[in-house]
């Protein structure tokens, strides 16, 4: 060891991460590409079929295209209110407008985020049950509904229900995330704005939003990635891989798992995984492009300090 004193310690420290990631994530991802080019059903020999699976996806499987569309709609219906209301609520919390009960408020809103997602879907299925669910009881008592509404077997409300679950799960987390971002903004900037006669709304639009842009961008990207992958909540809410009546809330991941593991179509299912991956990547890129066009910054990723 004495004549080889240049041991690269950082390499030794970081290498385990990459070794494990390569063996347990990257190798499956890459070898799965080959599976996606076969008609394999999980046992026996692999029969190479070229890009047949990919052609089938787009030309002969309307439920897959439906699942893509569903995921995108659920993402938009969930994400837009989530980001807007979280940012507003974080600003309220940051301006010391709350008189008391702050830690109760923080923890109550945060609790759904750490709740097992499987349980979230089941909780909503219990609350929305046509005959025993609290939602129908309350809505009928206050006269909004005349009779028991069948929430879980009505296609038109399926996606909004999933969006509500997403909102409930993430609202507290995203709010605290934005609050942490707001607290890094220098107070003197706000004082200066107040001296210049800038009102609350004006200050929010022309000071807070631009300064928060990196944090918002990071949060939105992670949100897009997360909500496009929605799986457990609708699976448990409707108790099926089909996501309710007429595949109304079947997401990409539900279709992927249904095809691969419930129907044992490993080859065909694998091809769905890669299309899904490309879709998610495309959406992230699209978002980056739009933000850059409108905000004129080359920011890309977490914040530097």
């Amino acid at each position: 060891m004495k004549n080889r004193r240049k041991v690269s310690w950082p390499l030794i420290f970081i290498a385990p991460f990459f070794i494990v990631y390569i063996i347990f994530n990257l190798v499956p991802i890459i070898s799965g590409v080959y599976i996606s080019l076969t008609s394999w059903r999980g046992f026996g020999a692999l029969k190479y079929v070229g890009v047949d699976n990919y052609i089938r996806l787009f030309s002969r499987d309307p439920t897959f295209l439906n699942a893509i569309l569903n995921s995108v709609i659920i993402m938009l219906e969930g994400m837009i209110p989530l980001q807007v209301f979280s940012l507003i609520f974080a600003s309220v919390l940051n301006q010391k407008l709350i008189l008391g009960g702050k830690s109760f408020i923080r923890n109550a809103f945060f609790l759904p985020y750490i709740t097992t997602p499987v349980a979230i879907g089941l909780i909503f299925s219990v609350l929305l049950d046509q005959h025993t669910g609290m939602v129908n009881f309350v809505l009928m008592k206050i006269g909004i509904l005349g009779s028991q509404f069948d929430w879980l077997h009505t296609a038109s409300v399926a996606k909004p229900l999933v969006a509500v679950m997403i909102f409930w799960r993430y609202f507290g987390y995203v709010t605290l995330f934005y609050l942490a971002g707001l607290q890094t903004i220098n107070k003197q900037i706000y004082d200066a704005a107040t001296v210049d006669g800038s009102g609350r709304v004006r200050t929010f639009v022309s000071i807070t939003l631009p300064l928060m842009q990196p944090v918002i961008m990071f949060q939105v990207v992670m949100g897009i990635l997360g909500t496009l992958r929605t799986f457990e909540e609708p699976l448990m809410l409707f108790n099926s891989y089909e996501g309710g009546i007429n595949h109304a809330a079947q997401t990409m991941n539900m279709k992927y798992f249904q095809t691969a593991f419930q129907q044992s179509q490993f080859g065909y299912g694998a091809s769905m995984g890669y299309v899904m991956f490309l879709m998610i990547g495309a959406f992230t890129l699209l978002y980056f492009t739009v933000v850059r066009r409108f905000a004129g910054t080359d920011y890309a990723g977490g914040s530097d300090e």
């Binding site: 385990p16 991460f17 945060f110 097992t116 997602p117 219990v126």
Partner: protein, 272 residues
């Protein structure tokens, strides 16, 4: 602080919203204590009388078997995640080396790759190695927790003095010794936070056990919740009790560590 009208309204709205967010949990708790007649009778905010019978309905204490499994998986995952994340974070935060930005960028990029993309080949690999229906495939990947590395790097940048490498060398430690004997004790709070967060991550994980564990004796908690929640049990309250008990451990952990967890998950990522 002045009690102005807007402040009173905003405070009332926030507390009302917080209660509304908690309501589903409370209703689950109430319904898990009721018998079928009480549940069908409608909205009740007072617990019923059927808790013990419902508990027998989900199999009594045998229902806790998956909890033991989840604790085994979770504890092992925590140890691996925390140790290897801290080590990688130390390597990135306190050393300068060629292409460091690229290395850190790659770790961040793995955060953006949905882990289920390669799951078919992963399951196949594990079946070939006869590791399906074991916990190893659920545990080993925690050695490469990108979130953990990202989080630890941010923490160590600010909390480990730059002189620590030199001071350790004077004492005759090599760098691994410095990490084990000097760095780990300093970052104890961070190790604790990441432990809690990664335990919750592991506890809530559903996709991997769903496709890897078929033996009900080896079910983890989300599999057990899903089973009890979707199968037919004559007592409706028993089903609900099964779901409620399943989320209780994470709630208890959160009750005692809420400050650490909320800060760790939000500020850590913002400041990283």
């Amino acid at each position: 602080m002045k009690y102005t009208l807007p402040r009173i309204v905003l405070t009332a709205l926030s507390i009302g919203g917080a209660i509304a967010f908690l309501l589903p949990f409370y209703l689950m708790f109430v319904m898990s204590t009721e018998n079928n007649a009480q549940i069908f009778a409608g909205l009740s905010l007072i617990p019923g009388t059927n808790l013990l019978r419902n508990f027998q309905g989900i199999g009594g204490f045998t229902y806790f078997r998956p909890f033991l499994n989840s604790i085994i998986v979770g504890a092992s995952s925590v140890v691996l995640t925390v140790f290897f994340s801290a080590m990688a974070g130390f390597g990135i935060a306190k050393y300068n080396f060629k292409h460091k930005d690229v290395v850190f960028g790659l770790i961040l990029a793995t955060l953006m790759v949905p882990p289920e993309i390669g799951i078919i080949a992963y399951v196949t690999q594990m079946r070939i190695m006869h590791l399906n229906d074991t916990y190893l495939p659920l545990i080993i990947p925690s050695m490469a927790n990108a979130f953990g590395v990202f989080w630890m790097t941010g923490y160590m940048k600010n909390s480990i003095p730059a002189e620590i490498l030199d001071s350790g060398k004077i004492d005759g430690c090599n760098d691994m010794g410095i990490f084990l004997r000097l760095v780990l004790p300093i970052i104890k709070p961070a190790l604790f936070t990441l432990s809690i967060v990664s335990f919750v991550q592991s506890w809530n994980n559903y996709m991997l056990p769903l496709v890897l564990i078929n033996d009900p004796r080896r079910f983890t908690v989300p599999l057990a919740i899903a089973a009890v929640g979707t199968q037919f049990i004559p007592d409706y309250g028993a089903r609900i009790l099964g779901i409620t008990i399943g989320i209780l451990p994470v709630f208890l952990i959160f009750l005692f560590t809420s400050k650490v967890v909320t800060k760790g998950l939000t500020e850590g990522a913002v400041k990283g």
